[in-house]
Symmetry: C2
Subunit: 393 residues, 2 copies
């Protein structure tokens, strides 16, 4: 028990002198709605051809089962494991793991390991295994704009009163310049310049602009000039509106200048953009650009720092060799634009977090008809078995 | 019956050689919600001090009763009316009188009159009667912006995909320049220059900027430079956002770039801004400024043309004298920023529509605790009685 949904822990530690690997996974899942879009019952694993469909099939119960099956295979055949192993499964990942920092503090000794293995990410495509070594951080916030004390008739007052909806649009439109750069003063100040060689590597291994646009069925991309779409998604920070709210929501029309309007936004952060500092810059920016005829309220609703995982570590070398031997190709070391809240916490141990996932881009995680590819599942089990061997000193 | 809620008609026409006056009113009302904000039952007229509280007390059942009481008083004392009178009460004003044009066509002979009297407006304040001679027109529209085929994860794609919410904000922010002027090309082309003398008159009779801001409890106004707030509300056109919709509406936050976003907007039009032409300019403008990475859809949801009522007409002179004799002050001839959809239709008769109302700015029409001032009610009855006398040839 950790104050919320319980965590499950197990270990096998009789390998003196060998490193200790912590397997991390989560058993909680996203809601299944809209239910009528599912072709199979979401809470009953259903095999269709080469895929197994169910909520959690890829995120993350199916992928965690890969870990357990690898351990089970080893114990059933050899009778022991080549290294020390800890297994930890939690139940709050999908709600940002609110009780995790306290649990990590309390159980630090028990959970400490030389490396952490997480299979909660995707490969770049069929037969293209990847290890994620960088995740963007995030900062979620809400901006509320207040105008008159109560709603006004827009026929009567339209043209003479600053409309909170309009002020909100102006403030959001003003967050980017025509070149797609974020205009918040200081926003890019501490963004790490990414080495030319690394950009070259991302260009070779990551998807091209065309790949991404074809995938999304979009005619063109958008964003910061001078960077490829994949770079904009991974090594560059971003500010995104996630929701707008204000005015009459019903059918037809209503002549109203509402008393307030609000937007939900999020920042994606790269090293070394500290969420706290970004919140400060944000507050200063909105105070400076706020039209004097309206009031604003900024509320930070969540954050996690960006993470870069060191690539030179025996555990990562072992994972690389395991992938190469099992898949016939080396893993692509790449970065992801998303955020995994628990990874920065895990990184506190000082042990590398190996993000080696076996999902596919079309697994529809968080969406209806989530699935896992069974060939990937079985090859994943082989990869983990091989990793346990390779990580042995 | 007129296809929707029935209209009620009555007449008294035995005054040969005298003009015919049409009294127009509406018996339908706005919804009463939020019900818990009412201090008295909304559908039971309740007297509290000098006021009568009920839905429709001012808009428009109470004000129409003023007409009926004036006619009744005349008939009960003198036994006949000094002029010919038609009385017409409809039941669809609050839903934009959809069946009214057809009814006017069908019953043109029956409804034809030399002047129309409507008491559905407000005075400028206690003891400051007004006759409205100009109403702004309106054009309601919805702008929808579409991006990717389905919602995207904003962590993964943030910074590389044109967000429909952002494009919508940019397009709305771009509707005004920093001087508060509407940027739609051609928007002001046919706006009638208002004569200096008329502006002077509005300045003397209308509320000052300070009056308006005090009334609204706002620190400052907004809008087109070079015009007073009252001018911006009455003789100048406006474009106003009435609602914004898009993205995750629930509690907490969700990392989404939604596939679409939408806004409801309205234009208030002054002579000679034709709604059809404005719709055309709007369509052309949005096509021109639309970022190429998103799609847009513009939908016109309603319109009514602006109206100016000729001030030189025997009926208006009679109304002016009636007000002067009853209230001790002449009526203030002024304009209103709102729109009354039926007035342009009534104007088809070629007869002047006299907008002489006895409401007060704090009557809370369309809101909870709507009321009418009883002293105003009784003085209104006297005013109409006097008007019937004055309009006699």
């Amino acid at each position: 028990p950790n104050g919320g949904h319980p965590s499950v822990y197990a270990d096998w530690l009789p390998a003196p002198g060998q490193p200790t690997l912590l397997f991390y996974g989560h058993y909680d899942v996203q809601p299944v709605d809209p239910l009528h879009d599912w072709c199979t019952p979401p809470f009953q694993a259903t095999r269709v051809g080469q895929n197994l469909f169910a909520r959690g099939a890829s995120d993350d119960k199916g992928q965690f089962l890969i870990h357990l099956k690898a351990i089970e295979s080893y114990l059933k055949t050899v009778g022991s494991l080549p290294i020390n192993v800890k297994v930890w499964l939690e139940g709050e990942e999908e709600i940002n793991s609110p009780n995790l920092p306290a649990l990590l503090d309390r159980e630090a000794d028990r959970l400490r390991a030389d490396a952490v293995l997480v299979s909660d990410t995707e490969m770049l495509g069929q037969g293209r295994p990847s290890i994620i070594y960088g995740l963007r951080g995030n900062l979620n916030f809400e901006l509320e704009v207040g105008g008159p004390r109560h709603d006004l008739h827009s026929g009567r007052y339209g043209g003479a009163v600053y409309n909170p909806l309009q002020a909100l649009c102006e403030m959001i439109a003003g967050l980017h310049d025509p070149a797609g750069r974020v205009t918040i003063p200081g926003f890019y100040d501490r963004v790490q310049e990414v080495a030319h060689a690394l950009r070259q590597e991302l260009r070779c291994t990551g998807p091209t602009d065309e790949d991404i646009l074809t995938d999304l069925d979009l005619p063109q991309g958008w964003g910061e000039q001078g960077y490829s779409l994949f770079e904009r998604m991974t090594i560059r920070p971003a500010v995104t509106v996630n929701g707008l709210f204000g005015g009459y929501p019903g059918p037809g029309s209503k002549s109203v200048i509402p008393k307030k309007a609000a937007a939900r936004l999020s920042m994606r952060l790269v090293p070394d953009q500290d969420p706290l500092r970004m919140a400060h810059l944000l507050r200063r920016h909105f105070t400076a650009v706020k039209p004097s005829a309206v009031s604003t309220r900024l509320r930070i609703t969540g954050s996690s720092p960006p993470v870069i995982i060191q690539r030179r570590h025996p555990a990562l070398s072992a994972a690389t060799r395991a992938v190469y031997h099992t898949w016939g190709v080396p893993p692509v070391f790449t970065r992801s634009g998303g955020s995994i809240p628990f990874v920065p916490y895990l990184a506190r141990f000082g042990a590398p977090v190996i993000l080696l996932g076996f999902g596919l881009p079309d697994d529809d995680i968080h969406a209806p008809n989530e699935k896992i590819s069974l060939p990937n599942f079985f090859r994943g089990v082989e990869t983990i078995i091989r990793f346990l061997q390779e990580y042995r000193l």
